[in-house]
Amino acid sequence: MNKIWAVARHEFLTNLKRPSFIIATIAVPLVGALALGVGGLFGGQVEEYLEELFTGKGAVVAYVDHSGLFTPPLPAYADTYILYEDEAAAKAALLADEIGSYMVIPEEYLQSGKIMAYSKSSSFFSSAISTSKENVQGFFTDHLLAGQVDPTLQARVVDPVQLTPVALDEQGEPTTSGPMAFVSTFVVPYLLAILLMITIFTSSGFLLQGVGEEKENRVIEILLSSLSTTQLLAGKILGLGALGLTQVLVWLGAGMALLSGAVAIFALSGLLVISASTVILGLIYFLLGYLLFATMMASAGALGSTAREGQQISGIFSFLSAVPFMFGNFIMMQPNAALAKVLSFFPLTAPITMMMRLALTAIPPLEVAISLVLLILGILGILWAGGKLFRLGLLMYGKRPSVAEMWRALRQA
C-alpha cells in the first residue's frame, strides 16, 4: 500500500510540473473567459443574430396577394410583412437581394389553403425557415379571423398553448423551477459525461507517455524489481487520476466563476438544481469509469513497442468510451428504453450511459445495483488481465507481443 502511495505521489507531482499540463489547465478557463468577454461586448447582437438564424424571427417576409384577404396587412404585421403588387415586382426584389423570399397567395386560397413560397437557391435554408408553416401561421390566422370573432378567442386560436413543463418527483412535488432548471437536466448529464472523457484523455495521455518513457529509459527494470506490476499500475492510475481530477476541479471552479459572471452579464435567471443522490451516484460512476478506462489504456500503452503505437492501440478504447454519445439523443429521449438499459449494464458503456440517465430519470435501485456490480466485476477483470498484459508488454523492447504470447500471459498464474 505504501508503495502504491509512493508511485501515486511521484506520478502526481512530476506530471503536475509538466508544461503541457499547466498550459492546458490554464488555457481552457482563459478561452472561456475570453469568450465570455467577447459575448459581453457583443452579447445583444450575437443573441439576436443566432435567434434570427435559427428561428427566422425578425426576418422580413414578402408576399403577393391574389385573394385580397391579406390586403392591406394588419397593423401588427406591417413591419415584418411587405405586400408586393405582383409577382414580377416580388421576383425582381428577390433577385436584387432586397428580400430573402416571397409567398404567393392564390385567388382560391380560401378553398385550397395552398401557398407557394419562393427563395433563391443560394439562401434556401434560412429562407425556408422564415417562411416555414410555424412562422407564418399566425399571420394567416390573424387575417382570416380579424373582425370575425372575439379578439380574446382570436388570440387563443393564434397561440393556443402556453406550455410550462413541470417535472414531479416521487412525492408529486415539482422538482424544477424555471427554464434554467429544465436546461440543467440536459446540460448536467452531458457535462458530467464530457468531464469523464476529458479526465480519461488527459490522464491516460500522461499514463501512456510515462510508461513509454520508463520503457525507453529502462527504469522499468528497476521498478519491477521493487514492486509488483499491480502496485505500479494502481499507483499510476491513482496518481494520474488525482491529477485529472485536479484539472477538472480547476476547470469546474473556473466554470462556476464564469457562470456567475455570465448570469450577471446576460441577466440569466434561475439556478441549476441537481439532487444530491444524482451527484453522489454521478461521482461513483465517474470514478469507476475512470478506473476502468485508465486500466485498459495503461495495459494497451504497455503493449505498444513505442509511445506512438501505444497511443494507436489505446485509441480503440477511447472510441469505446464515446459509444454512449452516439446514442446520446436516443438515451435522452427514452432513458428507460431497453437499449439504454443494456448500455448501462455493459461495463464499458455503463459509466457514461448511467451519467446521462441519472439526471433524466429515476432509475430503479435494482438496475443501479446490477450495473454497479457488473461494472466492479468488469474493473476487477480488467485489472487482473491488464496487470498481466502490462507486465508482459513492459519487458518487451522493440517488439509487440503476439496474440499467443498475450494468451499465455493471461493463463499464467
Partner: protein, 301 residues
C-alpha cells in the same frame, strides 16, 4: 549465518520453445562476492530477472535469505540492471530517493542517504540538477548509487563498470570492497574477467542456460592449471629431468612438469641442482582462457 543468500533449485525458463535457463542449481553464500559469468545470450539476464521476480520461472524454486521469493525480500536487494536508465526529467536526488522509497525506505532517510552517497561518488553538485544534465559516466555512477540508497543486504550488479574510465572504475571497485567488508553479499555479473579475478570468491559460469563451471575461483584455477611452474633465477641447469618441456617467456621460464612430479618436488630438484631461484610459482591460467576453453568444449559436445 549459515543461511544462503540465494539458492535456486532446478530453475528453468523457456521462451517460445527456446530454453533460456536449463535446470539451474545455484547457491550464493552470505557475505561473499560471487561472479556470475557467461557469454552473451547464456541466460544471465533471464536468471537475474527471475531472482528479482521480474519474470516467473516455468519450474524450479528460488529461495532468498532462506525464504521463498516474496515482495519483502525484494526490498533487501539492490539491483543494477545491465540496461541502464534513470528518470531523465527530474532532479537526481529526487530520482534516487524515489527509487529507494519504492524499496520501502522512508522518504526523509532516503533523501539523506542519496545525498551522502552522491557525495561519496563526487556527484554532490549534480544532486539538485536534472538527471539528463549529467554526462554518461556521471549517470552511470548515479545509477550505481541508486542500487545502494535503500541499504540492501544483497547486491546484484550487472556489468557495473561497463563504460567507466579507470579512475571511476577504481572508485566503484573500492565501494564494492567496502560493502563486502560490511558483510553484504554481492553478485557480480560481467564479461570483464580481470575484474572477476580481482574481486570474486566463487564463480558460476553458464552457457545455454546450464551451469558449466561452478565453485571457488582458486579451486577452479587450480583444476584448469596446466601442471606447470614458472620461475626465475641464476645458474639454472639446461637439463631438468622433472620437466617434460621448458619454455622461455618474458616473466621467466615455464616448465611443464612430468606426470608424478609435484611443484614442491620440482623446486627441491632445482635447488639441489645448484640454481639460485628468485621467483617460483605454480602456473594458473587466466580466467579468460578457462572461460573460452570451457565454453568451446561445451559447444562442441
Amino acid at each position: 549465518m549459515n543461511v544462503l543468500a540465494i539458492e535456486t533449485h532446478d530453475l528453468t525458463k523457456q521462451f517460445n520453445g527456446l530454453t533460456a535457463v536449463d535446470h539451474l542449481d545455484l547457491a550464493v553464500r552470505q557475505g561473499e562476492i560471487f561472479g556470475f559469468l557467461g557469454p552473451n545470450g547464456a541466460g544471465k539476464t533471464t536468471t537475474i530477472r527471475m531472482l528479482m521476480d521480474i519474470i516467473r520461472p516455468d519450474s524450479g524454486r528460488i529461495h532468498i535469505f532462506g525464504q521463498p521469493l516474496a515482495p519483502q525480500t525484494l526490498d533487501r536487494i539492490g539491483y543494477l540492471p545491465e540496461e541502464r536508465g534513470l528518470y531523465r526529467k527530474i532532479k537526481t536526488v529526487d530520482c534516487l530517493a524515489y527509487l529507494a522509497v519504492l524499496k520501502g525506505m522512508p522518504r526523509r532517510i532516503a533523501r539523506e542517504r542519496a545525498l551522502a552517497l552522491l557525495e561519496r561518488v563526487d556527484l554532490a553538485d549534480s544532486a539538485d540538477k536534472k538527471v539528463e544534465t549529467m554526462s554518461r559516466g556521471m549517470q552511470q555512477k548515479a545509477q550505481f548509487v541508486a542500487t545502494l540508497v535503500h541499504d540492501p543486504e544483497l547486491l546484484i550488479l550487472d556489468e557495473p563498470f561497463h563504460g567507466l574510465d579507470p579512475l571511476n572504475t577504481e572508485l566503484l571497485k573500492e565501494m564494492v570492497l567496502e560493502l563486502h567488508e560490511q558483510g553484504k553479499t554481492i553478485i557480480f555479473s560481467t564479461h570483464q574477467m580481470n575484474q572477476v579475478e580481482a574481486l570474486c570468491d566463487r564463480i558460476l559460469l553458464i552457457d545455454h542456460g546450464r551451469a558449466v563451471l561452478y565453485g571457488p575461483l582458486q579451486e577452479i584455477k587450480e583444476r584448469y592449471a596446466p601442471h606447470a611452474v614458472q620461475f626465475r633465477g641464476e645458474a639454472i641447469p639446461a637439463d631438468l629431468p622433472g620437466a617434460q618441456r621448458l619454455e622461455q617467456q618474458e616473466e621467466g621460464i615455464v616448465a611443464y612438469l612430468a606426470d608424478g612430479v609435484t611443484p614442491p618436488a620440482f623446486l627441491r630438484q632445482l635447488v639441489e641442482s645448484g640454481a639460485a631461484i628468485t621467483h617460483y610459482e605454480v602456473v594458473t591460467p587466466p580466467l579468460e582462457d578457462i572461460f573460452i576453453e570451457v565454453v568451446e568444449r561445451e559447444r562442441q559436445r
